[in-house]
């Protein structure tokens, strides 16, 4: 796994890959991501033909079904624009796993081409656009959850956190075990529900001990999982995608 792709010069246009989870459950995070890009003068294209990256099937042992869905994404993002993904997990799928998924397929070159254009949202905001944020919000204590794929596959956690750190009224209290998985893992969370529950229980305890009033992350899979566990335990700590948070704090 290479650290980061060669960064493009500031482009005029980008594609936005919203991810299926944001599409269905967290659309405001997706809209916020696109607004952050537009605000920097970038023209955002949201292909209506897009759906899911295919990871659920890919990781569950169904590569043919994953390919069938992935082909649709190859079709939806044909032009040579950067593809911005508000998720380390789905970004990792497009960037690191599409070339493997299509290695011996006619679409191998297309998959490579798409993979080479993929950027995680915060990585793109920091590295390519060099965004500067002015915090207009009230003082708040937040904590940050690193998704495993953002941390180990996309390696973008420092970019994400650097954005939060730019917000002067936001105090970030770090988790004691920030590098430990929350136990989501897609189908793992239901196929090994006991294990997954044990993992998220520890994550919730770690979040509680920070005393933060909000949990941030760059991946809605983890947020759905941890947020669900917090709600199940009736712990009043809301969860929010970083794009939505940044936009709210900096909006005039």
């Amino acid at each position: 796994m290479e650290c980061t792709a060669t960064m493009p010069d500031r482009p005029e246009k980008v594609y936005f890959f919203g991810t299926c989870l944001i599409d269905l459950c967290f659309p405001r995070a997706g809209m916020a991501g696109m607004e952050l890009l537009q605000r920097e003068g970038i023209q955002v294209i949201y292909p209506q033909q897009q759906s899911c990256c295919g990871q659920p099937a890919y990781n569950s042992g169904f590569p043919d079904e994953a390919r069938q869905v992935a082909r649709q994404q190859l079709k939806a993002f044909p032009q040579d624009y950067p593809v911005i993904v508000p998720s380390g997990s789905c970004g990792g799928m497009l960037k690191h796993h599409y070339p493997k998924l299509f290695a011996d397929q006619p679409e191998a070159a297309e998959a490579q081409h798409l993979a080479s254009r993929v950027f995680e949202l915060t990585e793109f905001l920091v590295n390519v656009l060099g965004v500067e944020l002015e915090d207009r919000g009230q003082p708040i204590k937040v904590t940050w959850h690193s998704s495993c794929s953002a941390l180990r596959e996309m390696r973008v956690i420092e970019y994400s956190k650097s954005l939060v750190r730019q917000l002067k009224n936001v105090e970030v209290i770090e988790l004691q075990r920030e590098r430990e998985c929350c136990g989501f893992g897609g189908s793992f969370s239901v196929k090994q529900a006991d294990l997954s529950s044990a993992m998220v229980a520890d994550k919730v305890a770690d979040i509680e001990q920070t005393g933060a009033s909000l949990l941030l992350s760059g991946d809605c899979g983890c947020l759905m999982h941890i947020g669900g566990a917090l709600e199940h335990r009736k712990i009043a700590i809301p969860v929010k995608h970083i794009a939505e948070f940044i936009l709210e704090r900096t909006r005039g």
Partner: protein
């Protein structure tokens, strides 16, 4: 293996997850091991360079495995080491027993060896009237408690000091209760010292076997390995056939990676290099040295280029120490000899997916194991491959044993429907609308199947009234 092991994974997992003491012991131990490793490999750039070297050495060895094994045999034989080949654990046990019988030996002292666990050697010897005593402290502790190792490097890691204190007090005659570590060590040392003198045959594992020189390398911290391989007149080394390396100069980087990854040590207290039995005029060392090379399914793993990477493993256990699943289960819950991430890719290949396939599902694919693996085994990719094979009924030449065991119509249809919905935009749009409309009803429906699993500890996600597709369209975001 002669007997088929049936492991009840769900039951094991539940039991382990409910064992608070076990969870606390493991967490404390894993934190310490992880911290020590981080301290030793504190420079990430240097570590990447070192493990790239380790990876290259192991890949080079595996590329020429058949030739290297032949070279190893030739060299060892020339050095006076007797080499035996075993395709199965039963054959390896048979070879051991034959050697013991030839020497009329009934007392074996053992250094730590995971391959001997794979052979269930102790159990086999016991059935044939031979006492096999484990001399590694951790192994000795679990043998006293009639347990198997729960970790490949630290076999008694599931136990804390108090539990060991009680065990010694109860199981070793005339032992007063003490929780002082030094005193506990002294108790074990006293018992073991006598056994070392009485041992007729010593059995050990092998960390690396050098084809170039015919040298067997043994890494250890307690000196018991040296005792087992020098005090008795006969030494039997058992080794998985993937442990061979090409050259002597391949050993130092691997040793550094092994000790650093396993226990955060720059080097272990003892490092033994065994190249021959006692030579004429020498005052000590065994008169006979035997090397048993065990296959047990490794050739089949080797034949597949992707799965072959499993065999790069140098058995450091770092993947376990950093695994969020292992940390919560411990080794015993996995039910087989090799637990944790390496066990989860190795065991299903050795035992068959139909028996151990569940191990491949016990991972969130977090990748913490790959991050620390000193020889860069793509553990997650191999786990994913095993999941694919679990549903694949086709008899390809490289299919994993027991493949297709999970194939079922419900799951196949579910994924087909999912694929259709996500590959055809209009179906996807209809679906999103339906979920937005019907989603709020979900929590009121009875919990079934996967929803039940989710709801045991998590509230259901809420589907948005309007999807991102819909919002983007409303906001006139360009669609190209």
């Amino acid at each position: 293996m002669a007997e088929t092991v049936v492991v009840d994974f769900p039951k094991n997992f539940t039991r382990a997850l409910n064992d608070g003491q076990l969870r606390r012991n493991l967490r404390a131990a894993m934190d310490t091991l992880g911290m020590r490793r981080r301290t030793l490999f504190s420079d990430p750039v240097a570590f990447e360079q070192l493990r790239a070297r380790g990876d290259a050495i192991r890949q080079r060895a595996l590329r020429q495995l058949p030739e290297l094994l032949e070279r190893l045999e030739t060299k060892c034989t020339a050095n006076g080491i007797q080499v035996h080949w075993a395709e199965t654990p039963a054959q390896a046990n048979g070879i051991c027993l034959e050697i013991l019988r030839r020497h009329k030996a009934t007392r074996v002292i053992k250094g730590k060896s995971m391959v001997s666990e794979e052979m269930h050697l102790n159990h086999f010897l016991e059935e044939h009237g031979v006492e096999a005593l484990e001399t590694d402290l951790g192994e000795y502790i679990i043998q006293l408690d009639h347990e198997t190792p729960s970790h490949i490097i630290v076999p008694a890691i599931h136990k804390n000091r108090d539990q060991i204190a009680r065990l010694f007090h109860e199981k070793i005659p005339d032992t007063p209760y003490t929780e002082v570590v030094e005193e506990l060590n002294a108790i074990a040392r006293k018992v073991l010292r006598e056994k070392f003198f009485a041992g007729e045959v010593g059995v050990s594992g092998v960390n690396f076997a050098v084809a170039e020189t015919g040298t067997l390398c043994l890494v250890e911290n307690e000196g018991n390995g040296r005792m087992c391989t020098t005090a008795p007149p006969v030494h039997i080394a058992v080794m998985g056939l993937e442990k061979v390396v090409e050259r002597l100069e391949d050993v130092p980087p691997l040793l550094r990676l092994l000790t650093g990854s396993a226990t955060g040590q720059l080097i272990t207290t003892y490092f033994n290099m065994i190249t021959s039995p006692r030579k004429q005029g020498e005052k000590d060392g065994p008169k006979e040295v035997h090397l048993i090379l065990l296959d047990n399914g490794r050739s089949k793993i080797w034949a597949d280029p992707e799965l072959r990477q499993t065999l790069k493993c140098i058995r450091c256990g770092a993947c376990m120490n950093h695994c969020p699943v292992y940390t919560r289960l411990g080794g015993h819950a996995y039910g087989y000899v090799y637990p944790g991430p390496i066990g989860s890719i190795l065991t299903p290949q050795l035992e068959g997916l139909d028996h151990a396939g569940a191990m491949a599902t016990a991972s969130s694919f977090c990748g913490a194991c790959e991050e620390v693996c000193p020889v860069k085994i793509p553990i997650v990719d191999i786990l994913r491959r095993l999941r694919v094979e679990s549903y694949n009924k086709q008899d390809a030449s490289n299919a994993v044993k027991g493949h297709g065991y999970k194939t079922n119509a419900t799951e196949s249809l579910t994924w087909k429907a999912w694929a259709l919905s996500n590959a055809v935009p209009w179906i996807n749009a209809v679906n999103a609308k339906l979920l937005g409309l019907l989603g709020p009803l979900l929590p009121r429906l009875p919990a079934w199947g996967i929803v039940k699993g989710w709801r045991q500890s998590r509230a259901l996600p809420r589907f948005a009234g309007k999807s991102l597709h819909a919002l983007a369209k409303e906001s006139r975001i360009r669609d190209e």
